[in-house]
Amino acid sequence: MIDHLIQPPFIHPAYQSTVKRGPARPLKPLALGLSDVTGPVFGESTVDALDADLTRNAAKGGEVIGERIIVTGQLLDERGRPVRNALIEVWQANAAGRYIHKHDQHDAPLDPNFSGCGRFLTGPDGRYEFTTIRPGAYPWKNHANAWRPPHIHFSVFGRNFHSRLVTQMYFPGDPLLAFDPIYQGIPDEAARRRLISHYAHDVTQEGWALGYSFDIVLAGGLQTPFEDEHG
């Protein structure tokens, strides 16, 4: 179920921390049972509307600093069918490239009105939309003069436990992608490009926000009649 042309390896020495953390031994193929076509189903109570607006959900009386963007897309399985009512959680740095996380201490200002965290459920057509600001690049210590390209982290649940995906969305035309060992850890160039969002002029709102689109395709579970149980 893991496509090894598309999915990155556990150990990719250019990304330093994989060297000691990635499993080194071969994976054991595991037969799945009927129970493995199940997975968590997040109810409406787990998110509210404000969770999808990162420009407002942590505001403390001021405006979030940065270029406002609307990010939208569709969550699909490998057969092209929409994955509806699925939970997506996102997090990102602010416009200056600083995370609110206590362990990010790099020399860029915090935005008191921005947490960079959001979450939402996909709709009946598998579509999602959230509003945020464009994150900045940020330096990290992987190698000399290392900078992560601006990115938004996505955590995605599919129809079953094994459809789980954690990934990062990047922005078109970013020169830092060529230098980034996390992005470059994906073996195939066409697969890498799937992580780059597209500028979407039809989503752009005049005078308000630029639009970007980013579709996500999840690996399937077993091909059984139970696949549509939560569909």
């Binding site: 990635g22 996102v90 094994h162 995906l165």
Partner: protein
């Protein structure tokens, strides 16, 4: 080449986003099964603790039934899904029940087990393993455990002195490396 979207690391800064709700307690007062604590330490190839990992678990209740719905607020019955961070010492902990066995397709019974996903900085894609329970009589006929050399099967066994606090350490690499799986159609 399939159309899957590739994975990227969860990175070190996920806690504020992914721990808005408490998800370490899967078992409420009405959960079916023996209440247990499932805990352990996650270490790297040097045996050093990994303090910035996240575990997600998926398991049946004591009757072998899955309860997929996740809502906000404390669990009254049972929720099959849990999520926990590791702390500064690399330790995670869940409050749950010992699961009942669940069948494979074809009807062969599996021994009680908990499915685990490990995410962290330094993992470009999450790792999948299982926790089985040392001393459970069903282990001797479990299709997965019995297909493994003993030293690999050993890495999948949680241990307990009292049947209530179960320890399952995860060694990502190196000596005693935990066995990780690739889910698929064939064993």
């Amino acid at each position: 080449m399939s159309g899957q979207t590739p994975s990227q690391t969860v990175g070190p800064f996920f806690h504020d986003a992914l721990f808005l709700d408490e998800r370490t307690v899967l078992a409420g007062p009405e959960a079916v099964g023996q209440r247990i604590e499932l805990t352990g330490v996650v270490t790297d190839g040097d045996g050093e603790p990994i303090p910035d990992a996240m575990l997600e678990i998926w398991q049946a209740d004591g009757d072998g039934a899955f309860h997929p719905h996740v809502e906000s607020g404390p669990v009254e019955g049972f929720c099959s899904f849990g999520r926990a961070p590791t702390d500064e010492a690399g330790r995670y902990a869940f409050t749950t029940v010992k699961p009942g066995g669940v069948p494979l397709s074809g009807g062969r019974m599996q021994a009680p087990h908990v499915n685990v996903h490990v995410f962290s900085r330094g993992l470009l894609i999450h790792a999948f393993t299982r926790v089985y329970f040392a001393g459970d009589s069903a282990n001797e006929s479990d299709p997965t455990l019995t297909s493994l050399p003993p030293e690999q099967a050993q890495t999948l066994l949680a241990t307990s002195a009292d049947g209530v606090r179960w320890t399952f350490d995860i060694r990502m690499q190196g000596e005693g490396e935990t066995l990780f799986f690739e889910p698929g159609l064939d064993g």
